[in-house]
Symmetry: C2
Subunit: 213 residues, 2 copies
Amino acid sequence: MKIQLALDRMEIEEAIQLTRLVESSIDWIEVGTSLIKEYGVSSINELKKAFPKKVIVADIKTIDNARYEFEMCFNAGADVATVMGVSPLVTIATCLEVARRFNKKVMIDLLNSSEEQKRALLKYSDVIFCDHVSKDEQEESGSRNPGTSGGGLYEDDSLQIAVAGGITLESFVNLKQKMNPTVAIIGSAITKAEDPAATAAKFKQMIFQMKGV
Amino acid sequence: MKIQLALDRMEIEEAIQLTRLVESSIDWIEVGTSLIKEYGVSSINELKKAFPKKVIVADIKTIDNARYEFEMCFNAGADVATVMGVSPLVTIATCLEVARRFNKKVMIDLLNSSEEQKRALLKYSDVIFCDHVSKDEQEESGSRNPGTSGGGLYEDDSLQIAVAGGITLESFVNLKQKMNPTVAIIGSAITKAEDPAATAAKFKQMIFQMKGV
């Protein structure tokens, strides 16, 4: 299982400094939607320049204009870019076409996708499906947990799945045992921790220990 | 009927120069999603600074992180900001709350929203509903035209509706007569015209002439 560090609601320089602190414990670096919308594509450029050996995920959340946005992300150094599962299918197909051309990867964000949409998307291989409980849903009381999204996502062992939304050290064991995702996307549990380096190291250690589970 | 000029796939300076050419014929200025994602929130700032008396629409296409994104847009000078109709309802409710606090307006982009989602959204008053055929759908042959989106959108005369997606001088009369939207969102028909000023003036003249229809 990989750890994807989600960087959101901060300045680019702060994102770089924070990532340096936890670099050895995390695998992928997510340039969060808020960084892209606030600072533009240079946020992707800067993070790739600072961490050229890490996988950079551009959380661009494309829902239209797929070719333009995906080319922009990959040209800026992203290795993975995100498209919304609620997009028209032609948009998702275009993202896949651009990613193939650049030899890069697509993550399909299933935030608020219907079960019907999910089933239609499961035909795509070589993508990462992101089971995503949004920030706004997390802030609303009574919101669902990741892993309860349905649509047959967890019935096919061959799928690559990322899980995002409010993952903490406490919920992490359960996540690993129940869903065993390819990628765990962790944001504020690390970025807002009193000691981000120690917290990221704990996540990494838990993955190591759980390998025998 | 207002004309909203959609500025997409260009640099900020080019957007400002182009808008100057057509300023007297258009009503609202849309800072397109591609400008925001490429150059960040400064694209909104720059356009508002250049055209302080125009209504600035930030096509931020929020689908999560509503408070952060909408506050960012309004603080940058936007008068209207967009949220996706396919978002969780809590996201849309949060956008409305922020807009009320700033005394600004929400445009709900109905791109790929289901009829069920549209019906749930029609309860909101004082928003603008955008009937939107996406760029990617336009490029796909056989895509639908605006105005065929269903969901009861055109059955309630009290709703404020914007129509977007491939509007041309040729399709404009039909649009006015069939849908009579509050806002016609026009992009490349003006921005890619050989003579943008003359073309924008033609749109304006057509609105004037059609008032008697």
